[in-house]
Amino acid sequence: MSASGLKSRNGMARFVPYAFILPPMIYLMVFMFWPLARQMYMSFTNTRIINPNRGRFIGLGNFERLFEDPAFYLSLKVTLVYTVLTVIIGVTLGLIAALAIDRPFKGRSVVRAILLFGWAVPGVAASLIWLWMFNERSGILNRVAELIGLGRFSWLTSTDYALGSVLAVTVWQVAPFVMLVVLAALQSVPEEVREAAKIDGADPISTFRAVTLPHIRPAVQLAALLVTVWSIRRFDVIYLLTGGGPLGSTSTLVVKLRQTAFEGHELGMASAYGAVGLVLALLVAAIHYVAEQRRMKRMSR
């Protein structure tokens, strides 16, 4: 091959990675960044959903209204409480479940299938099943509560229990996912290291802390990040179970966004709610990034 041919081939080779990366970039631009940019712009307009092309630029008007509205702070608080509790409870239960089924035992595959059930059921179907279970009059939960002498509970219509009930359904869905991710990481922990720790006299808790946990930490961290972002934007379960009530006790930012967009027809204002949600998600991603950088630095020492 001539030198010029080789040179041109090398020149072409330089563009191959770009050719591979171009389709996903175009996809992301068209279906993610462009709509996101539109949404951000819309949050500065008075666009109405019924006539989205007639929106007028109003600067920070929507954000001014948002920050003056007590309902916004309530929904922000509910979102944070719901997200933090979902992550703490969901990840802890998922971790425990993964550790429980990590070791081989009789019927492990059956137990694993049962534990995974919550994750496999679509959100809408799960909500409807739980709606019946929470039913005050004929739901199974109140039947059991009555049988054991506790009386009936207003699972979804009392401000004391509604958020807890929504959390229970969410955790039931989220924990199996965490379990699956952690289980995959657990399977890759070298058995000889565990054995060595055991021979050195380490008890199971110390073995877990010193050997297993450092190994599965990235997986747990990733699962926690995903659960956090999903919780900030979760809609189906909350909307179907309580619609944001009672008294706004389960009204997260996304529920409020839907209400503003489709009930009030205020797409501009709804976009402002969306922008706040986006900032929250980006904050979480930034925290994850910083934590990951620090961990990498520690490991490289």
């Binding site: 989205p52 039913n135 944001g244 009530g245 008294l247 489709f262 027809h265």
Partner: protein, 421 residues
């Protein structure tokens, strides 16, 4: 020479194509697709198409149009009622959507306000419309015509009342008393059903208007100012709480569940509209003759839900769609609608037949109540009614779930409304 021929042939072909195109446009102008013999498909969006029995009957009624208009094919766009408003606003906002839509009054006003409906006055020539069409006229233009008006009434299960020796109530206290008597006489029976949860907001606020209007509430004063914290409204909220707290309601049940319970003879009383009542009386364990109806146990008349039919300005077949509406408003269309609509009030006065009234003894009460019922929308604030009522229902929710006083909760709602509107 050859080249010249080729050039001439091309020019000839181009001239022929342009002439043909011009002729097509020229001939097509002023003539609709249907008139030109071309097949036209009209898409009709309605959540009722999905109703178990009524949907089939209503579709059979409108489908009769195709018998006399073979060039027109009607196509169902069936959208569940919970998603109907969201889907239609999104589609219409994007310049798409069906040719015709059967919309609840609130949605109708929002879509008309955006300029997405066409004038239907051509469909009303020579038709003796009744007052159900008045709200379809906005600023002098008829954007919507009545599809159905479903008025509310108190309905009850006669055998359950007989078993409990309970009387048909005329006040809220009597309702509680009769509901308790019916429940006590037949184990497992619920006293009274009705919407009461925020996760069913649109339905709940419309149902609650019966309580509000029933106690004489006007959400606007003579100057058009929104008046939320009136003594009448406080009385209505207090009455609702009294029923809610009395233990006669199945707290937590969705409305479809409550209707099913009624249908299966497990509920004594309910406040429901004629459409919902027709559903309860059809195809379930309860025979239509076992169902009774009466005015609601309030001092003043209640509300009605209205569905309008409108033609989209995005439709490519507006002329054909308006022609369909004209047929619908005519004697053939209205009779077909009457046969499928039970006791709902229609765009023209078509009474229910004697045979129907005999088989469904609850039907005439609804027709009588329709004479005095009021729209669930707030006059002058039709497009914002849902937003305003969100504050009102938050006050109602606060009263029924906490020890808050109706007056205080409504004063908070008034402050929020004053701030936003």
């Amino acid at each position: 020479m050859m080249m010249f021929d080729k050039f001439r042939r091309r020019r000839l072909l181009a001239t022929a194509a342009i002439t043909a195109f011009a002729l097509t446009i020229g001939l097509g102008a002023g003539e609709s697709h249907a008139q030109s013999g071309e097949k036209v498909t009209l898409k009709l969006a309605n959540s009722q198409w999905l109703d178990a029995l009524r949907g089939k009957n209503l579709w059979a009624a409108v489908a009769k149009y195709q018998e006399t208009n073979p060039n027109v094919t009607l196509e169902q766009v069936a959208i569940p009622s919970a998603e109907f408003n969201d889907k239609l606003t999104t589609e219409m906002g994007a310049g798409q959507g069906p040719d015709l839509a059967m919309m609840q009054e609130g949605l109708f006003y929002a879509i008309a306000d955006a300029g997405f409906l066409v004038d239907l006055s051509a469909a009303t020539d020579g038709i003796n419309l009744n007052k159900t069409n008045e709200n379809g006229k906005i600023d002098g233009t008829q954007y919507g015509l009545a599809w159905q008006r479903a008025v509310y009434a108190l309905i009850y299960n006669k055998p359950l009342l007989d078993a409990g020796k309970a009387k048909v109530p005329g006040t809220v206290d009597e309702l509680i008393e009769s509901a308790k008597a019916a429940s006590a006489a037949t184990p497992g029976v619920i006293g009274f059903t009705g919407r009461h949860q925020m996760n069913d907001f649109s339905g709940w606020f419309m149902d609650f208007q019966n309580w509000a209007y029933g106690y004489g509430v006007n959400w606007v004063d003579a100057d058009g100012k929104l008046t939320i914290d009136t003594p009448e409204a406080a009385e209505a909220v207090a009455a609702f709480k009294k029923v809610y707290a009395s233990g006669i309601m199945p707290i937590g049940d969705s409305m479809p569940t409550q209707r099913t319970r009624f249908k299966e003879k497990h509920a004594a009383f309910s406040i429901d509209n004629s459409g919902g009542t027709l559903n309860i009386a059809s195809g379930g364990a309860m025979q239509s003759g076992e169902l009774g109806s009466a005015p609601m146990p309030f001092p003043h008349p209640g509300a009605h839900q209205q569905i309008f039919v409108g033609v989209s300005s995005h439709s490519k077949h507006q002329e054909e769609a308006v022609a369909f509406v004209k047929w619908l408003m005519g004697p053939v269309g209205q009779q077909a609608m009457r046969d499928a609509s039970g006791p709902d009030t229609l765009a023209t006065d078509v009474p229910v037949s004697d045979a129907y009234a005999k088989t469904n003894p609850w039907a005439p009460t609804f027709a009588k109540l329709a004479e005095t019922s009021r729209s669930t929308l707030i006059k002058g604030h039709e497009v914002e009614t849902a937003q305003i009522m969100r504050f009102v229902m938050q006050a109602v929710e606060k009263v029924i779930l906490t020890d808050a006083e109706p007056k205080t909760a409504l004063a908070e709602a008034q402050a929020a409304v004053d701030k936003q509107f």
